[in-house]
Symmetry: C2
């Protein structure tokens, strides 16, 4: 029996890439600005990378975080590297707002139960979405300069 092909080993539409990594818009409807940084090589854990590669990967993660903060001004940025479903290094970089559907919980938890939360988010979300082109432009330029 052969293992199924790793989806992160396949190429995909990226916002930016170099020989080692690519930066992708996660495209999740509820979390505009959610960005992934994917290491190209099929490696499962950060401590399986040599320290300099690890540092280059994290430098891309910090660059995404900074561009998110500069252009979208989220309440908080969330960072996560899980890989339980796909053991191929990828970082989730997620801008969060106090009125988003899950705040203050992780986006993997159940949505917030506050009455009025969805309406507040529906009113706010177009402002975030409208800023995405500016975010992507700033991000590409910061990654080029990295």
């Amino acid at each position: 029996m052969t293992a199924p092909p790793c989806p992160l080993c396949q190429d995909d539409a990226s916002l930016w890439r170099n020989d080692e990594l690519r930066v992708v818009d996660a495209g999740t409807p509820r979390h505009p600005g959610y960005t992934r940084v994917i290491w190209n090589e099929h490696v499962a854990e950060m401590t399986l990378l040599d320290p300099s590669a690890r540092q280059r990967l994290m430098r891309a993660v910090w660059t995404v975080e900074q561009a998110l903060r500069d252009t979208l001004a989220p309440t908080k940025v969330n960072l996560a590297e899980f890989g339980n479903q796909v053991p191929h290094l990828h970082w989730h970089v997620i801008p969060r707002w106090s009125c988003d559907t899950h705040f203050p919980d992780a986006i993997w938890a159940a949505p917030a139960q506050d009455p009025g939360r969805q309406a507040a988010w529906d009113a706010f979300e177009p402002r975030v979405r409208g800023r995405l082109p500016a975010y992507h432009a700033a991000l590409r330029s910061a990654l080029d300069a990295m």
Copy 2:
């Protein structure tokens, strides 16, 4: 109106500490080995730290991950920095096993619904718990050498 005191600015029982950070057993009953790395200074985002401080914090996170892998051999290590509830930098470093209560989802998601999962975990979990003293000893020694 004054903000409530930040719980992560209070001292707590740590496995290891230096002047900048401390490493704490999360003490969550369902996830033995779950460890937190807490930056002592009250800072909200990784990109608010200067690059060398950021690197020192991440070096501690990698040291925890390596010690978890070396002593507990988890299926995967999960890393996360959220801070939505407490905007004071802290990393979650969580060993995961394919039979744990939430695998392959994030521990913040709903538990796995597989029939028999809880029984499989109840049978396996004492082996993890029995290795915690070895993990903590290896971790302290690796952090001392960091």
